[in-house]
């Protein structure tokens, strides 16, 4: 059994790994469903307003009413999947910043987990339905719980700049966990990087271990090999300094670019750290690949490498395949520039935010208030005769729905526009 097989049993592989087209189509579907819902919800709220206005004005004019309705419906312009993605990315950057405000700052791993939670959540949920602003803090809090850095909710909420309450933080927890399909484990590339760096340092100190398929290599061979690689992108005083520098650059890439792009959905943790390492110090990364898989592979070498006995490197195929994957992943990581440091992207973001203001699903805006309504309501769990899970919860759901509508009615009565007249809607 090799590491790959173990990785394939992880929820990250089973539920959260995609090809580029499947990722795109999933996002398109989510966007389409949410857009449809948003339009319907806006229509409902408009109808509510119209009927209120109508009853105030006395006799309505049916034709003009229809006209208004038609015009309004055209006006609801929903976000595109690309715009949703920009918005989510922005809040992922914000999550990183939020983690930084705590004293001491939340560990990198916790913040990275929170970001991946957000990204996973928004594969099946749209920012039009749930604003990332309201999910972000919760994702970070849940990550402190799942990544062994639990701090109390009160302490956590106090650490958030502004007047965020504990209720605001915790309200979407269940929603978030449901969106995560109750899988909390995120496999990060950080640990693999540490291992690779330790291995390189050992080689540099003449304590390297040969790969199992290259038993003839000695620690000295490895050390010599490492010392004879091409110079680094930035000059360094010693090999150990060079490794440390590459380590730092790679870690920064893993904390930023790897988090903000689709890297986790498309590549494995080891592919991600290796790709980042290639960007940090290509000759060093390729040396490590050679140690692991033998034979350098570059675009200029047409034939498979042969070893001293004239044999083809048995891992040549894996190596070439990997080369291809790593190149792609490196390009993805390199494509990332932080939104906040790019005026053009910021301008685009502002436009999207403005657009979102008009296509936000009005029925999902205040999650904390909705939760409060639910929790103050006495439990209505009804055990059906059959003991069937569904009917129990359905009854509950209906009871809650009625209650909500009742409460809404009560609230509307204080409204200057008078009570809501849409109770008919439920009768339809």
């Amino acid at each position: 059994m090799i590491e790959d097989d173990i990785y394939r049993t992880s929820s990250q592989y089973r539920l959260w790994s995609y090809t580029e087209p499947s990722l795109q189509s999933l996002r398109a579907t989510t966007n389409a469903v949410a857009s449809e819902r948003v339009r319907a919800a806006l229509r409902r709220s408009r109808e509510a307003h119209q009927s209120t206005a109508t009853s105030e004005a006395g006799t309505p004019l049916p034709e003009s009413n229809t006209e208004v309705k038609n015009r309004d419906e055209k006006d609801v312009e929903c976000l595109t999947p690309e715009e949703e993605l920009v918005l989510v990315r922005y809040y992922c950057e914000k999550t990183l910043e939020l983690g930084e405000t705590y004293k001491p700052p939340l560990p990198t791993m916790v913040r990275a987990t929170a970001i991946q939670y957000l990204r996973r959540f928004y594969l099946t949920n749209s920012p039009m339905t749930y604003h990332p602003k309201s999910i972000m803090a919760c994702a970070l809090f849940v990550a402190t719980k799942t990544d062994n850095y639990y701090i109390s909710l009160r302490q956590f909420a106090d650490g958030i700049p502004g007047d965020t309450t504990t209720e605001d933080v915790i309200a979407p927890e269940f929603l978030l966990m449901q969106g995560l399909r109750f899988t909390f484990d995120v496999r990060h590339p950080f640990r693999g990087l540490e291992g690779g760096v330790m291995e390189l340092q050992a080689i540099a100190q003449g304590q390297g271990q040969p790969a199992p398929h290259l038993p003839h290599e000695t620690a000295e061979d490895l050390q010599q090999g490492l010392l004879s690689i091409a110079p680094p992108p930035v000059p360094s005083s010693s090999m150990s300094d060079r490794i440390a520098r590459a380590h730092g650059t790679t870690r920064e890439l893993l904390k930023s670019a790897a988090q903000m792009t689709d890297a986790y959905f498309l590549y494995t943790p080891s592919q991600i750290w290796f790709s980042a390492f290639l960007l940090a110090d290509r000759p060093l990364a390729e040396f490590l690949l050679d140690v692991k898989l033998g034979g350098p592979v570059t675009a200029t070498i047409p034939a498979p490498e042969t070893d001293e006995n004239g044999l083809v490197n048995p891992l040549y195929e894996i190596r070439s395949k990997l080369h291809h994957v790593l190149t792609e992943c490196s390009a993805l990581l390199q494509s990332y520039t932080p939104l906040s440091s790019d005026p053009a992207q910021m301008k685009n973001l502002k436009r999207i935010a403005k657009k979102l203001y008009h296509c936000q699903n009005p029925e999902k805006v205040n999650l904390a208030a909705a939760q409060k309504r639910e929790s103050t309501q006495p439990s209505t769990a009804v055990q059906s005769d059959a003991g069937v899970v569904t009917s129990e919860s359905e009854t509950e759901r209906l009871a809650k729905k009625r209650k909500l509508e009742q409460e809404q009615k009560v609230r509307q009565e204080d409204d200057v526009f008078g009570p809501e007249l849409v109770t008919q809607r439920t009768k339809q």
Binding site: E36, K145, L153, R191
Partner: protein
């Protein structure tokens, strides 16, 4: 043939493949989009307002039917249920109770249990088939149905007779389960006989991951307040904040010893008592036999007159004659005081005790006991690391008996 680390596949119900889940997600999306008023599963009321994830959750929930309650604790209620489309496929449904005192959302034990069971798919780890929530936001875990009770039940029942071949089979399954956890960088941190449940086919399953956590990065502190006292290794009793899979191996050794003796081997009444009992039994930890031990926070130096020398192989052979010399050697390697000298899970599995005579008993021939469903219900409702008072009381009686 040596025991394969994977053992035999349990014939319990099939787990829904990951691809199904992804497909399901896509189809559910498609469905609710194109025809909001109809759905694949018939239900009394169809609501077009449901979000995609809510719909998926309902789909999962509707896959199961609860039959009867088999256990209730402060932390959870356990039901026996079955797949709706197949009444013969039994499952245990563990519904986590919402604790009104705890305002921080889903409780940590539940978070840990769900997190790790979602990752650990192995014949010797209890299978988590599904997770769903009811509308009142209670979490339900659909677990593998394990009607064979647990190892504690078999150890304590004087009507049950078992031999070293049976112990070898049980320990082999335990070792493979622990190996799989460690291979996935997970520490169980609560291994004891009543967390080792038994399937209808006799397979032993590691359960209760309420105290589990991933291996920490070097220098990151962890709590030492884990593992039920009698199974707790000396480094945790001394307050070590950085430790490894060796803590689980010690617990495994204690289970091994208990299976052989049919009473807990070192059963202290307090943490301090536990430490002194360990010293009496295995020897006093010193800088000589355990470099660095004196720097642990709760280490208490013993004066020279009371030093117990480190026990050697002959002690284990004398104390555990049923294990045979090779079995005693394996046990000794699990009970090394210095965690660095303790065997790892892989080293345990490579020990030659597994391959010498007698061969481990086949699952179908293992001793078993009825009434296991109730026991499973009790085991699954216990909070992680919760001290089972009843167990301690009865075990204390047994101890007295053992000392007569």
């Amino acid at each position: 043939m040596a025991l394969s680390p994977f053992g035999s596949r349990s014939p319990s119900m099939t787990v829904h493949s990951p691809n199904t889940a992804i497909r399901l997600r896509a189809t559910a999306a498609q469905k609710s989009f194109t025809e909001p008023a109809s759905a694949a599963v018939s239900r009394p009321v169809q609501n077009g307002d449901r979000e995609l994830t809510e719909q998926l959750n309902i789909d999962v929930r509707e896959r199961y039917v609860k039959d009867k309650k088999v256990g209730e604790g402060t932390y959870a209620v356990v039901y026996v249920g079955h797949l709706r489309h197949d009444p013969s496929s039994l499952v245990a449904i563990k519904k986590i109770k919402v604790n009104a005192e705890y305002k921080d959302g889903l409780a940590m034990d539940a978070v840990r249990e769900v997190k790790y069971l979602q990752e650990l798919k192995h014949p010797n780890v209890i299978a988590l088939h599904d997770v769903f929530s009811s509308k009142d936001q209670n979490l339900s875990l659909v677990l593998e149905f394990l009607p064979g009770g647990d190892l504690e039940m078999l150890i304590k029942d004087s009507d049950i007779h078992y031999g070293v071949a049976d112990i070898k089979a049980w320990m082999g399954m335990l070792a493979r389960g622990v190996w799989w956890c460690h291979e996935n960088f997970v520490l169980h941190r609560d291994i004891k006989p009543n967390n080792l449940l038994i399937a209808s086919d006799g397979e032993v399953k590691l359960a209760d991951f309420g105290l589990a956590r991933s291996f920490a990065d070097p220098l990151f502190n962890m709590t030492h307040q884990v593992i039920t006292r009698w199974y707790r290794p000396p480094e945790l009793l001394y307050g070590a904040r950085q430790y490894s899979g060796a803590v689980d191996i010690w617990s495994m050794g204690m289970v091994f010893a208990e299976l052989l003796l049919r009473v807990p081997f070192v059963a202290g009444n307090t943490d301090l008592d536990q430490t002194s009992k360990i010293c009496e039994a295995f020897g006093t930890p010193t800088e000589e036999n355990w470099p660095g031990v004196s720097k642990l926070p709760y280490y208490i130096a013993t004066d020279k007159a009371h030093l117990v020398p480190l026990q050697g192989r002959d002690f284990f052979m004398r104390q555990f004659p049923t294990a045979g010399p090779v079995g005693a050697d394996l046990l000794m390697s699990m009970c090394a005081l210095d965690p660095r000298k303790r065997s790892t899970a892989v080293q345990c599995l490579r020990h030659n005790w597994w391959t010498i005579e007698p061969r481990p008993t086949r699952n179908e021939d293992l001793p078993r006991k009825s009434g296991g469903t109730k026991k499973m219900g009790d085991d699954l409702t216990r909070r992680g690391g919760e001290l089972d008072e009843g167990m301690f009381k009865s075990a204390a009686r047994q101890l007295d008996f053992g000392m007569k």
